[in-house]
Symmetry: C2
Subunit: 261 residues, 2 copies
DNA sequence: GATCATAAAATCGTCGACGATTTGAAGAAA
DNA sequence: TTTCTTCAAATCGTCGACGATTTTATGATC
């Protein structure tokens, strides 16, 4: 019944992961359906991704408690590994770790939201400027392919899929900048933005966003740094405004405020 | 003999911290004299700071192994807490954590160095621009006070103290930007830069740097965003160039390459 | 003497356990 | 009924231990 650190077939899956699936229901919003398909892949990353996806898909609203024992039995690991994942989630601002009081899903305030978008504008502006300098013809082709994917996702009208493609677009543009450090920071910020967007109800203006994405690609392909930066900034400002306007205290937000306690 | 999580007087200090000070000397560079004054303060932060300072002061050259058992006995804590600190140090790129092979002090490559400075230019440019918009008269006074501290540190000609004041200056300017997120990112980058500067020998051009700092403050105080950004950029480019030029394979660097293995 | 195989030591990853803190509820007093 | 006290359950922080991996030392072979 011992544990092996590497990627090998382990018996822990039969021990706990399949033990309880969705049996309990203790009144408040808890985390049912977090555990994914339970493949034999890297446990640590699987836990992280499960929580992350749960937050992004509203299954884990802000303020939801994430007790270590629950995660342990859900994923069939000891508290050591759960604890490590929680620490990483805290550093990425997905959860908040209160000393002696456990982890809860982070609840960004309006003030934080503003700062996040401000930081994102600064980073993406710098990165598109670099992208204009360093992009190649093949890069533009790939961006056009991404834009095409966006159109497909829009046609399907399935919000999570659209959000995913939009995220991909921004990350790909940023990758053209060729700076892994700035890219890592931006990845973090985009995650937090996605969290916020998911929180404040999906703003359905996909068509509008897609247009702006096209603008950005066009400016990059023409080597017009000034216009590329301006387009990116306008896009992000618009995104923030749409988010801020689209939350006149909806029903779901009220419930979230309640269990925030 | 149990452990208390809060800040209380504990007997561990007598158990291990005073056990070995600088007794051993196992051939290679190891970490003698890491443990600081051993105050009763927060253990976690103390370990972090000790390693950080050790790296900054060349006592822990890149590639130095940091075995968990050694740190445990040095600070009188169990591996759990040491492990947590190491994970944080890894995230801040101070150490590298190789699976099953332990932690070593990070050794930034020239390529990484370039990217770090590029990222830092992007962040500081954005932040000074914000600083120009948001600064008040009192802020300028405080900056002038910092500049005065720099002059004193220069007069003393004690490199670590000077580096500290220079770091402070940049962080204070960044703080004027009023964006905690960007400030946190920049803090991380400045730490890495300090590490690199310490690695590639202290470049003694303090007077030159100080002049440029004064330029930046002047531009901010006059509300000239364009010039402030330009001055900051020029300052950072100069800093990078001086670093890159000042390492024609010094004796110390060669030794570092050896124990890097 | 150098190279390779083997064994011992050191070190890492994970686990279960213990005490301490917090949380939640039951019961007494106003 | 409301509020406060007391107590039990849940949860967190830290520790020591065990197996697995890596590293180092030892000895055999060419």
């Amino acid at each position: 019944m011992t544990q092996k650190p590497s990627a090998k077939p382990r018996k822990t899956a039969s021990t706990a992961a399949g033990a309880r699936k969705a049996g309990r229901g203790p009144a408040r919003t808890d985390m049912a359906g977090i555990a994914a398909v339970d493949g034999g892949a890297d446990v640590e990353q699987r836990i992280y991704q499960s929580v992350f996806d749960g937050v992004l898909n509203q299954r884990l609203p802000p303020g939801t408690k994430l007790p270590e024992p629950a995660l342990c039995s859900l994923f069939g690991v000891s508290r050591a590994v759960v604890r490590k994942v929680l620490q990483r989630l805290e550093h990425d601002r997905i959860v908040e770790l209160r000393p002696n009081r456990g982890a809860v899903v982070a609840a960004p305030t309006p003030e934080e939201t503003r700062k996040i978008f401000e930081a994102r504008r600064a980073l993406e502006a710098a990165l598109v400027e670099l992208a204009v300098q360093r992009h190649s013809g093949k890069d533009i082709e790939e961006l056009h392919a991404l834009l095409h994917q966006e159109e497909e996702a829009m046609a399907n009208a399935y919000q999570p899929a659209w959000a995913q493609t939009a995220r991909n677009f921004h990350l790909r543009v940023a990758a053209l900048g060729g700076n892994p450090i700035l890219l890592a920071y931006l990845t973090e910020l985009i995650s937090r933005c996605s969290l916020i967007v998911a929180l404040y109800e999906p703003a359905g203006n996909a068509a509008c966003e897609h247009e702006e994405h096209c603008d950005i690609v066009d400016a990059i392909s023409k080597g017009d740094a000034k216009r590329a930066v301006a387009a990116m900034n306008a896009h992000l400002v618009g995104l923030e405004e749409r988010i801020c306007l689209e939350r006149p205290s909806s029903v779901k937000t009220l419930a979230q405020m309640l269990n925030l306690a």
